[in-house]
Amino acid sequence: MRLPWSRRDRPRRAPPPVEPLTASALTWLLAALALAVAPQATELSVWLSVLFAALVGWRGFIVFRNRALPPRWLLLLVATLAGAGVMIDHRTLFGRDAGVALLTAMTACKLLESRGLRDGVVLVFLGYLLVMSNLLYSQDIPLVTYLLAVILVMLTAQVLIHRQHAGLTALAPLRLTGRMVLLAIPVMLILFVLFPRIPGPLWGLPKDAYKGRTGLSEQMAPGSVSELIRSDAVAFRVRFADAVPPSNQRYWRGPVLWHFDGRRWTRPEEPPVKTPIPFTPEGAAVDYAVVLEPSNRNWLFALDLPARLPPRAGMTPSFQLLRDQPVNEVYRYEMRSYPAYRTAEPTAMERSRGLQLPPRANPRARALVAEWRQRDPQPEALVRSALTLFREQPFYYTLNPPELGGEIVDDFLFRTRRGFCEHYASAFVFLMRAGGVPARVVLGYQGGEMNALGGYLMVRQSDAHAWAEVWLEGRGWVRVDPTGAVAPNRVQQGLYAALSDSRLLPFLARHGGDSEWLRQLALGWDILNNSWNEWVLAYGPERQKEFLSGLGFGPADWTGMTVAMLIALGGFGVLYAGWRWRSRLARDPVARAWQRFCARLARRGLARGAAEGPLDFAGRVAAGRPELAAGVWEIARLYAALRYGPVAPPEQVRQLRQLTRRFRA
């Protein structure tokens, strides 16, 4: 016999041993991480995607071939190189792209030193960050659905990294997390709708936070708009309260450009004011709601001319709507515009800005205007002359204009004569200014396509447009679209009709043809996206307030929402508890009646023993509470006969249920 009482054998209090990650846990974890990174694979630098895939593969190899983890120095080396790589790629370690790249790289390195539970937890947490980082790039339905699935896999990995749950095998953990997610969805919805939203951002965003969003730019140079035409991404969607205005009235006003440096039109600093700029409407108002896609600009688009302001927005003197913060979420706002209007006198500054020209540029154009003025110095006559020029001389509307060199207005007017809207707008405004008529360039969108199924208008990036406004005595700022003189179809029917080389257009902007049904399908899909945008993505602080006051809660404030949220959560909790209680109750009505009866007695301190049969229990209750004896015996006898007897006649089952329901202890 060996008795281990010698000092040496005494158990020493050792730190708890590392619980190594099981192969199944690592498999799930690797899968979840790979799935989380996959949507970004194209965004990341190639070397990083390859590195991540390689390290995941290596870790998998280690698990399945039972190899040792790489030495620490190697890991450090890889991590340092990866960090340096990110630094070289992005010139910084901060900011969105660099941050995501760094997160990806470090997760991959962490994989190779993951031994135990703690590492597993860190990896799962990194995994959640990776999942969320995808949302910086897109929040559309397919991606969100996909990420939900990734979360499910990640949760499964989180269950399995705990060695003590290793008894869960095959699909059991997935079923478990699936059930948990299903149950979590109602709570998520309550929180999503009612959790008081705070308008962001809380701190400065990295400069590249929303890089890569297509949209109008702040300035206009030859080619800057036609660039956009190639994208069929939706810029915004509009739902009109009443009739939809005709296409040639649908000018969606964006930035107004005043300053011309000979090549490029730019926007001066125009501080917005918090009240709409007054003008005189001439005709009926148009009411509509716009759901704007993220653009990383603070511009809000409105029909000419906007007469109200969305919350947290202002208007520049040139009628451009500007929001406090750049629009980086889907943003919905309601607007009212008057298509017919008359504006007030320009201020002295507006007048001088409206006549600014680079000195001595484009002499041939100036000479042409001087000639027109000699014929008729009226501003209206100048406008007519310019439009006649475009209409009657061989000017072409094309997406592929030749390069302009030197004095670009002269070159365009007298040599190439092929251009897109920006060429025409630019040349027209130049001519007007040279003739002493205040004029400016307006950027925005024109037209848009009705989604008949969804009853809303889609305005795509390919609808981007540039037009001019001139100031005419007695009428104020008047919109003149010189492109319309060259290609009237552009304004009336859209770009597709106006262009002869429509192959350059994005697929969805083409009409008719063999793939019309596909286009219809795409329109259906757009309806889904629109609802998604309008109701889910655009659900921010303003929409939340609107929605809740719309539900009849009165003006919703922070405390009200919190209370409503807590009530809803409590209500759901009660529902869930009730459901759990019901499901714990036996399915069999006899057993359920008996459980109810026992529960009722248990509340009076007469709990049935775990192994106590019905008659024993009744005997005990009857002995302790003689006044209950008759009722208890009746129920117990009936229950015993129904539960353990050969038949349970329905009328007796009903009787038992009645008895137990009426029973009062």
Partner: protein
């Protein structure tokens, strides 16, 4: 009014109760055992009324009664009988032993040698005896009440575990309570009481009652419960080895008989629990870490541990 079978059984229990005072539970267990076609082992000190119980049962149920006092020199032939050569007829004539009776009291069974014991136990098991190649059926009903004295072990051959299993129930009578004891002291001689006992059941009626035991309904939830008991006995470290399938059958059969005796056409968990100590007490042995537990403790823990769903 015609007395039903249940009435007659009740009457029998009551009548036996007049001779063995204050032991109704033991009497009911004994009758259940008989109804379930099992055999009964009574383990108790002498003078507790084992013999009286057996005798009274035989009287009330109208059974032919034989008592065999087991001693160390008892031979199998003394129980089973033997073929004896008869000179006049010049042939062997079988002289049946005392086992050819309907109710046998095998008194102090542990005093006989294992050989003799197994002769009895085999007869019990098979309901027939084979002597010199000739098989003879035992009478119907056939019921053995064996007694064993737990305190007096020297020079005895306690029944091995495997043989204990052949008894459907093992019970103890125990001392009577004060009231019963007083009645016993005041009352008349037990033998006189025995002599006056009425016959409550004919052997046919008894056979009918035995036949009806098998028809007592055992509902699925009850079978779940019985399986729960068996499963627990097999998993728990409280026990060295669990209950055998045979023990499960015995438990259900005894519970059915108990239910019938209590005028029920179906088995309740209470019936199972009522017969549980008697049926499984001698079939469970404490596990290595629980050697100090008595069989009553073990059964108690088994009963408490298996929950009874609603």
């Amino acid at each position: 009014m015609v007395a039903t079978l249940e009435d007659r059984l009740d009457q029998a229990v009551q009548q036996v109760g007049t001779t063995i005072l204050g032991k109704e539970r033991a009497i009911r267990l004994a009758v259940s055992c008989l109804l379930a076609r099992g055999h009964l082992l009574i383990e108790d000190l002498p003078g507790m009324g084992k013999t009286t119980l057996a005798h009274a049962l035989a009287c009330c149920l109208g059974l032919q009664y034989q008592r065999i006092q087991f001693t160390s020199d008892l031979l199998p032939a003394d129980i089973l009988g033997a073929a004896v050569y008869e000179r006049q007829r010049e042939t062997f004539v079988f002289h049946p032993g005392p086992i050819f009776a309907q109710l046998i009291l095998a008194d102090e069974i542990n005093r006989a040698t294992p050989k003799t014991q197994s002769a009895l136990l085999e007869a019990m098991e098979e309901g027939q005896v084979t002597i010199e190649g000739e098989t003879r059926k035992l009478p119907e009903p056939f019921f053995v009440i064996a007694t064993q004295n737990p305190a007096y072990q020297i020079g005895t051959f306690p029944l091995p575990e495997s043989q204990l299993d052949r008894f459907l129930m093992r019970i103890e009578l125990g001392y009577p309570d004060a009231q019963a004891e007083r009645l016993l002291l005041e009352g008349e001689d037990r033998r006189d009481v025995l002599a006056r006992l009425p016959v409550c059941l004919t052997p046919e009626q008894l056979r009918e009652a035995q036949a009806r035991v098998a028809g007592v309904h055992a509902a699925p939830p009850l079978l779940d419960y019985v399986q729960g008991l068996l499963a627990f006995s097999r998993q728990s470290s409280l026990f060295r080895g669990g209950l055998s399938p045979r023990a499960g059958l015995a438990l259900l059969r005894a519970a059915r008989a108990w239910a019938l005796l209590h005028r029920r056409g179906h088995v309740l968990p209470e019936d199972v629990q009522a017969v549980l100590p008697a049926v499984v007490g001698h079939r469970l042995y404490p596990g290595e870490e629980h050697l100090e537990q008595t069989s009553a403790d073990l059964v108690g823990r088994l009963r408490a541990a298996v929950t009874l769903p609603a």
